[in-house]
Structure formats: structure tokens, C-alpha cells
């Protein structure tokens, strides 16, 4: 609020941009309410429906892009919280435990904190480059999300060159890091930026070559197709056909994401914070978010390429059918008629009261209100569970999303685990490892895979 009471001239650049936007948003909201109330907007929507139908790919792209841009922030929040909590566990500390239950809102508060901090531009920096660098890094991370298949049908754009797009756009982040390092007018930043350039470029090679085996087996570069090819049980996953490829890809991915033990670009005990030394406020926040989004994306890519993407490890449907547990998902709400209205009106009240009753009876020291609140919360949880179950049974996208997220977070956990356990490698060891070990291993993997593919084709 202090921004509102401050004279215009005292605001920072960000403040000057954000303040009119806030006014604009309020005005638009009021207009929207007015439009709905007067019936103008429903009419427009009816008209627009035909317009959308005519331009489906563009609309689809816009929706996907906005959804992906929006999902990065909560994803980063979750991973940051996870990292704080898991590293605390490894360190035998408590970790965040003050804000929200078990400190779960800690990273949200961190997000607000970086927003509220002064966006500081030091003397002597190259201002346009300095300002653009975090955006480049962030966007290069976010844009790769567009081709990641989360679930059947839930993919931003199903490109036939998805993997190529991924590496092409993902490789752009080194430009951002170099921009940050160069423009910061700080020797630590410069060293950090140059380290980033050397490291990311060196590890691009094993990263890409490690995947070529998968591309050869799959015969396509579309990530969606690669996942579809791994359908079935977990034995169909590519990790069992490409163990060496997976190992190379995983190590290179850790280096590509600038994560420990390869976090040389922001080695805090050596070069303070590397390329991010001079950044503060939301600009630093962009780097920070980009790092965690990159962790998510790389874990997601490992899942997609080697661990079957959204496919369940075992197909449970035959098992359920054998046990006679077939579920009828064709529930028609229309058949309930007036009963539906009664259900909607009375269900919450009766449910809440029923759930509150045992608490009120068993805990004499609790007030009625407290029991009611508990009952209401429990009722909501139950309903959410029921709805989730229903969705999971009726739409395979929900099950797919569940498996994708679950597998991805296993790898996110491995990233965090490594950060808590391992010391940092040195720059010469890092480069030597990439060029002397990973690259020859990737080439060997490529050669063996090619040989196997040809042999199998010849036998057939």
C-alpha cells in the first residue's frame, strides 16, 4: 500500500508500470460485472463461440501458453518448498515451519517478498541487457513446457520435432545467463556467466546425444509419440532399453539445470552468486523461478523419454475386471431430476451436521462452532475426494496427469537429494567429465543402439 501513498516521482520503474495496471484491472472487472448484469457479455460469448470454432489452433495455442505461464509459479513454489523441507530433513533441521501448516506457505511468502523488494539497478550496468536477461532465462525455461505432454491430449503443441524444439529453446537460457553475467558490471557475475556458457554448451552435447538412442528406437521426435510407444507395463519403458542413455541424460540434465553438484555458475562459496550477484527483487526472482521450473521440466523430460510419461506402471483394468470390480462411469445427473436440487441444497448441510456430530459429542470441551467448522472441512475433503475419484475413473487424462506428476516429482526429489548430499565439483573436473567421459559414453551408446536397431530389422 505504501506505493499508493508515495508521490509518482518516487516510484521505481516497476511501480510506475504496475500501478496503472492495477487501476486498469479494477476498471475491467467493474466493466465485466456490468456487462454480465446487463446481458451484453453472454450475447457476445454466443457470438464469439462461432469465432473460436473457426480459429481453433490459434485459440488452443493461446490457452495453452497462458496455462503454462500460469502453472510455472505454483510449480516453482512447490519445488522450492520441497527443497527447503527435504534439505532440512537431510541436514537434521526442522526447515520452514512457521507460515501455513508445516510451513507450506513459506515459498509463497518468498514470492511476495521478491515482488516487494526494491528492483535495484547498480551503477555502471548495461541497463537494457541487464533488464532483459532474467526475462530471457525465464522465457526459455517456460517455452520448453509447451511441448511437454502431461497427459493424453494435455499437451500445449504436439510438434513432430518436439525434442528438437525442446533443446533449441532450452539452449537459449545460456544466452540469458551470459547477458546477465556480462551486463552486471561485476567480475563475479562475469565469471559466473562465462562458466555458465562453458558448462551449458559442453553438456548440451551429451544431453542431446544421450537422447538420440531413444529417437532411434522410437523413430520419431514427437514427445507425444514417444510416450505412446511406451504404453503397456513398466517393462516397455525406454529406460530398460537405454540404461546408459538414461544415465548420461540424467547427469547432463543436472549440469544443464545448473544444479548441485554442477552448480558452478552460482557457486556461493566461490563466486558469491555468479551471474545473479547484482540482481535483486523480482529480477532475481525470475532467475530463481527459472531454475526451479527448469528442474521440473528436466525431470518431466526424463519421465517422458525414459519412464513412460503418463503411462501407469501397470495397467490395472484387466485386474479389476478379473476381480469383478467394473465401475460404471456413465452416471447421468439428469435422471435425478428434482432430487438433484434437493441434493445440492441439503447435501452440504446434512453432511456437515452429520460429520460434526461425533466431534461435538466426544469432545465436551469443544464448542459447537468448532465442531461445525471441523465437520464442514471434513465434508469438503470428502466431496473433493469423491469428485477426484469420479474424474479419475471417467477421464484418463486425470490418471495420466497423476502418473506424470508423480514420476516427475520423484526426479525432482533426486535433484534435491543430490543438492543436499554432494559437494561441488571443480570447473576443470566438470569440463573433463563432459568431454572425456560423457561424450564418448554417449557415442558408444549411440553406436550400440544403432547396431541393435539394424540387427533387429535384419532379423525381421
Amino acid at each position: 500500500m505504501s506505493a499508493l501513498t508515495r508521490p509518482w516521482g518516487h516510484l521505481t520503474l516497476a511501480g510506475k508500470i504496475i500501478l496503472p495496471l492495477v487501476g486498469l484491472v479494477i476498471a475491467l472487472t467493474l466493466l465485466l460485472l456490468l456487462g454480465v448484469a446487463t446481458g451484453v457479455i453472454p450475447a457476445l460469448v454466443l457470438f464469439g463461440g462461432s469465432l473460436v470454432g473457426a480459429n481453433l489452433p490459434i485459440v488452443r495455442f493461446i490457452v495453452a501458453a497462458s496455462a503454462i505461464l500460469l502453472m510455472t509459479v505454483p510449480t516453482a513454489f512447490v519445488i522450492i518448498y520441497m527443497e527447503m523441507k527435504f534439505i532440512a530433513f537431510i541436514n537434521m533441521r526442522l526447515g520452514p515451519n512457521r507460515i501455513g501448516p508445516w510451513g507450506t506457505l513459506q515459498s509463497t511468502i518468498h514470492g511476495f517478498k521478491v515482488l516487494a523488494k526494491e528492483d535495484f539497478t547498480p551503477t555502471g550496468v548495461d541497463v537494457p541487457v541487464f533488464t532483459l536477461a532474467p526475462v530471457v532465462v525465464y522465457l526459455s525455461a517456460v517455452m520448453t513446457l509447451l511441448v511437454l505432454p502431461f497427459a493424453p491430449g494435455l499437451v500445449g503443441v504436439d510438434m513432430n520435432i518436439g525434442l528438437l524444439y525442446f533443446f533449441g529453446i532450452g539452449g537459449l537460457n545460456v544466452v540469458g545467463l551470459l547477458m546477465a553475467g556480462w551486463s552486471s558490471f561485476n567480475k563475479y557475475s562475469l565469471i559466473g556467466g562465462l562458466r555458465a556458457a562453458a558448462q551449458v554448451i559442453s553438456y548440451e552435447l551429451p544431453l542431446t546425444l544421450g537422447v538420440v538412442g531413444v529417437i532411434m528406437l522410437a523413430g520419431t521426435m514427437s514427445l507425444n509419440q514417444i510416450v505412446l510407444l511406451q504404453a503397456g507395463s513398466f517393462l516397455d519403458w525406454f529406460v530398460f532399453q537405454q540404461p546408459l542413455g538414461f544415465l548420461i541424460f540424467f547427469i547432463a540434465a543436472v549440469a544443464e539445470g545448473n544444479r548441485a553438484p554442477f552448480d558452478l555458475t552460482e557457486a556461493d562459496s566461490e563466486i558469491v552468486a555468479g551471474f545473479a550477484t547484482e540482481y535483486s527483487g523480482m529480477r532475481f526472482g525470475f532467475f530463481f523461478f527459472a531454475e526451479y521450473v527448469a528442474v521440473f521440466i528436466l525431470s518431466g523430460l526424463i519421465t517422458v523419454l525414459f519412464f513412460g510419461g503418463w503411462n501407469a506402471p501397470l495397467d490395472l483394468n484387466p485386474l479389476l475386471n478379473w476381480a469383478g470390480l467394473s465401475v460404471n462411469t456413465g452416471l447421468d445427473f439428469g435422471r435425478l431430476g428434482v432430487g438433484l436440487l434437493f441434493l445440492i441444497a441439503l447435501g452440504p448441510v446434512v453432511g456437515t451436521l452429520l460429520l460434526a456430530l461425533p466431534f461435538w459429542m466426544l469432545r465436551s470441551d469443544w464448542s459447537v462452532l468448532k465442531s461445525l467448522v471441523i465437520g464442514f472441512l471434513l465434508f469438503n475433503l470428502l466431496i473433493m475426494g469423491a469428485v477426484g475419484l469420479y474424474l479419475a475413473i471417467s477421464f484418463e487424462a486425470v490418471v495420466g496427469l497423476f502418473w506424470f506428476i508423480a514420476k516427475t516429482y520423484v526426479f525432482v526429489f533426486v535433484f534435491v537429494w543430490m543438492r543436499g548430499t554432494l559437494p561441488r565439483v571443480r570447473i576443470d573436473q566438470l569440463m573433463g567429465f563432459a568431454w572425456k567421459w560423457l561424450l564418448p559414453a554417449a557415442l558408444l551408446n549411440l553406436f550400440v543402439t544403432a547396431l541393435a536397431v539394424i540387427t533387429v530389422d535384419a532379423i525381421r
Binding site: 541436514n91 552448480d263 566461490e270
Partner: protein, 407 residues
């Protein structure tokens, strides 16, 4: 220099918040070189870059500033700049009486302050020819050895932290915290104990201390082994420390090094054995040495020494005599005029004190010889030719404490 030039600018000063225009700051200091070495250091060849490591840097263990001359990632030369924590303890000691000197010397080695506060105490006792009660001597040795383990535990954590490992320092702090809590029960302080007194110690062993000590002794050795498992066989840690910053015996002696860095080169120089003080002649312990002289050897040596200290504590507890813990001394101490030199083995090497008394109640001169001050010089010899990241590994393995270095 006039008083006006050194005046702190007040907040009302209109020039205080005026933006300075962008300037390209010159790396070379704004005064003519004061020595041959400085002139040579600030003469940059093509492609060389000066970079300030500190005084505000995560891994300089305090407010040390090191000017690095780098060529790419490789360190060509370096110049440590001290004085950011200089308080003039020696001068302050000359202006207080002998008792004041104890608490003035306390914050010198703030990680193991039981050693630095012993300096004026032992020196004054030597000037007075004072016989300290045997129980007090045993309690001193107990406190010293406990503090040595606490300090060595932190060393391991710091070394790992400077190599980028986040976890070992927390494990170290668990061990250190048990000892520090124990000493807090004994002395009333967690960090700067102010426990030793001229003629004895400030209070006998109490119940809480003994029960905490008993608890800790029951799992100390096991805990030490557990904590180092994380690092000992860690490929990255071993590769980053082995063969790094290798010192040979001759160089170590010429650099006036003492303590673990010297013993890691194979010279068994330990003041406890070379020049016994207190009740160390009555105790049985080994002086661990290593032959390699590199960072890894120094790390291993610290662990060996911590184990020896546990062994010493065990003996001290068994041999602890009864009796008073303070000698009968006057409140105002006026040693006869004379000079006294004492040295003890601190976790970082030989802590020494040279005291001159002129017969008054104040020390005429109290010179403190800090081991990390002399050990830190080795950075200038060991680092050139290595990478920037190795500077931290070498510096951490020498275990400098800026409180003592800057006095």
C-alpha cells in the same frame, strides 16, 4: 590527519545520498606502491584481472579480504589484506590490568576462546612464579580438549561448506553444540567463556556439566565416525582435496607454520609434547601426523586429533584430583619486572604470549602470537597456479580465524 576528515557524515549531510555518476573503477589502489612486492603484484600483464575476495564474501571465514590476480579461472597471484577486524587488543591490554586482559583476549580466537583467554593467564602466572592447584590444571586441560574437539568439528563442516556441501556443517554443529552447551553449563557462556583466572579457574566442575559430559562421552567417538562418513568416501570431496595445496616440510617450517598444517607434512611438532605445559606430561596421547601435506591430509589430521582429544578427556576424568581450583592470589596483581614467554597448542597451532611486566598492575607489553596469522601466509604460496575454487579449499583447510588474525 584532521578530525574533520575522519568525521562520520551525518544523515543530514545533503551530499550523502547524491547519486554518483557511473565510473569505471581502477583496480589499482589509489596510492603509490608501498613495497616491492606490492608494486609487483599490482602490475598486471595482458589478460590478468584483479578480483576482490571479501571482505564480504561467504567463504573467507570472517572479514578477510584477498585480492586475487586471475587469468581466466586460474589464480596467478594473491595478496591477503588484513585489518578489517583489527581492534588493537594488545594496546587495550596495556591499558587495563592483568585481569582485564583475560576478557580482552577472549574474542581473539572466537571458535576456541578457551585457548586465547589462557594467554594472559599463563603469562602472568609465569611472571608471578605461581603454583596453580592441580585440580585447576586438570580442569583447564579438560576444557581445552573439549574446546579443541568443538573447533575441529567445525573445521570439517567449514571445509565441506567451502567445497559446496551443504550438509556436513549442520552435522558438525550438532557435535559442537553439545560441547558448547556443556561448557556453557561450566562457565556460563557459550562462545567467549572467560573461565580461566590467574591462579586457577572460575569455579569447580558442576553437576550439569558432568552429566552432559557423561552423555556426550558415551557416544562421542561413534558420532565422530558417523559424521565423517559423509565426506571420507565421497568421490567429489576426495578428488577436490587430495593433492591440493601440497606443502613440503621445508616450506612449512620456513613459513613458520604450526599446528595441523605443519603436522600434516610429517613434522610431529606439538607444543603439548615439544614443550610440555600444564599437566600434559602426565597424560598419555599420540601426536598424529600425515606425510602428504595436502588438504585431504589436513582434514584427516583434524579427525585424528579429535579422537586423541577424546582419549585425553577420558584420562583426565579418571585422574582428576580433589582440592581447590584457585590459588591464593591478591586481588591486585603486580608481578615483578620481567619477561615471560608461554606457548600452548591451540586447535590451529601454537598460541604464544610474550608478556613484559614493569612492576605495575598493568602489563607493559602483551604480545599475542596467533597461529592462524602465521598459517594464513601459506595461502600466498599454495594458491598461485590453482583455480579460484581451490583458493577456498586451501584457505578452509588452513582453518583461519579472523578474530585472532586481525587481533
Amino acid at each position: 590527519m584532521t578530525a574533520d576528515a575522519t568525521r562520520i557524515r551525518s544523515l543530514d549531510d545533503p551530499t550523502l545520498f547524491v547519486d554518483t555518476p557511473a565510473t569505471i573503477y581502477d583496480a589499482v589502489p589509489p596510492y603509490p606502491p608501498r613495497s616491492e612486492r606490492e608494486a609487483e603484484f599490482y602490475h598486471l600483464r595482458d589478460g590478468e584481472l584483479l578480483i576482490n575476495l571479501g571482505p564480504q564474501h561467504p567463504s573467507t571465514h570472517g572479514v578477510l579480504r584477498v585480492v586475487l590476480k586471475i587469468d581466466g579461472e586460474r589464480v596467478v597471484d594473491l595478496d591477503p589484506v588484513l585489518g578489517y577486524l583489527h581492534r588493537g587488543v594488545e594496546k587495550i591490554c596495556e591499558n587495563g590490568d592483568w585481569h582485564h586482559a583475560i576478557s580482552n583476549c577472549d574474542p581473539l580466537e572466537y571458535v576456541a576462546s578457551m585457548f586465547s583467554e589462557a594467554m594472559p593467564v599463563l603469562a602472568c602466572e609465569k611472571l608471578l612464579d605461581l603454583e596453580v592447584p592441580r585440580r585447576a590444571e586438570y580442569i583447564r586441560v579438560l576444557a581445552w580438549e573439549l574446546n579443541r574437539i568443538a573447533s575441529h568439528a567445525l573445521f570439517v563442516g567449514w571445509l565441506a561448506l567451502d567445497l559446496g556441501g551443504l550438509t556436513p556443517i549442520l552435522y558438525s554443529f550438532i557435535e559442537r553444540d553439545e560441547i558448547v552447551e556443556m561448557l556453557a553449563a561450566l562457565t556460563g557462556q557459550r562462545l567467549l567463556f572467560n573461565y580461566l583466572r590467574i591462579g586457577g579457574v572460575n569455579g569447580d566442575l558442576n553437576h550439569e556439566f558432568m552429566s552432559r559430559l557423561g552423555d556426550w562421552m558415551s557416544h562421542a567417538a561413534e558420532q565422530l565416525d558417523n559424521n565423517q562418513k559423509l565426506l571420507n568416501e565421497n568421490e567429489i570431496f576426495v578428488r577436490r582435496t587430495k593433492g591440493l595445496g601440497t606443502l613440503d616440510r621445508e616450506t612449512a617450517l620456513r613459513l613458520c607454520m604450526t599446528g595441523p598444517p605443519l603436522r600434516a607434512t610429517g613434522i610431529p611438532y606439538d607444543v603439548r609434547r615439544a614443550h610440555p605445559y600444564s599437566v600434559y606430561p602426565e597424560l598419555e596421547f599420540r601426536i598424529p601426523t600425515r606425510e602428504e601435506g595436502d588438504s585431504y591430509a589436513r582434514y584427516q589430521l583434524h579427525l585424528d586429533e579429535a579422537r586423541e582429544s577424546i582419549h585425553i578427556i577420558d584420562q583426565v576424568l579418571h585422574q582428576m584430583p580433589d582440592g581447590p581450583v584457585m590459588a591464593q592470589i591478591p586481588r591486585l596483581i603486580r608481578p615483578r619486572p620481567g619477561r615471560a614467554w608461554i606457548a600452548i597448542e591451540s586447535p590451529r597451532g601454537q598460541y604464544g604470549c610474550f608478556a613484559i611486566s614493569d612492576g605495575s598492575d598493568q602489563p607493559f607489553r602483551l604480545r599475542i602470537r596467533d597461529p592462524s596469522y602465521f598459517n594464513l601466509q601459506a595461502v600466498g604460496v599454495l594458491t598461485p597456479g590453482n583455480l579460484i575454487a581451490d583458493t577456498m579449499a586451501i584457505m578452509a583447510s588452513l582453518d583461519p580465524i579472523m578474530g585472532g588474525i586481525d587481533k
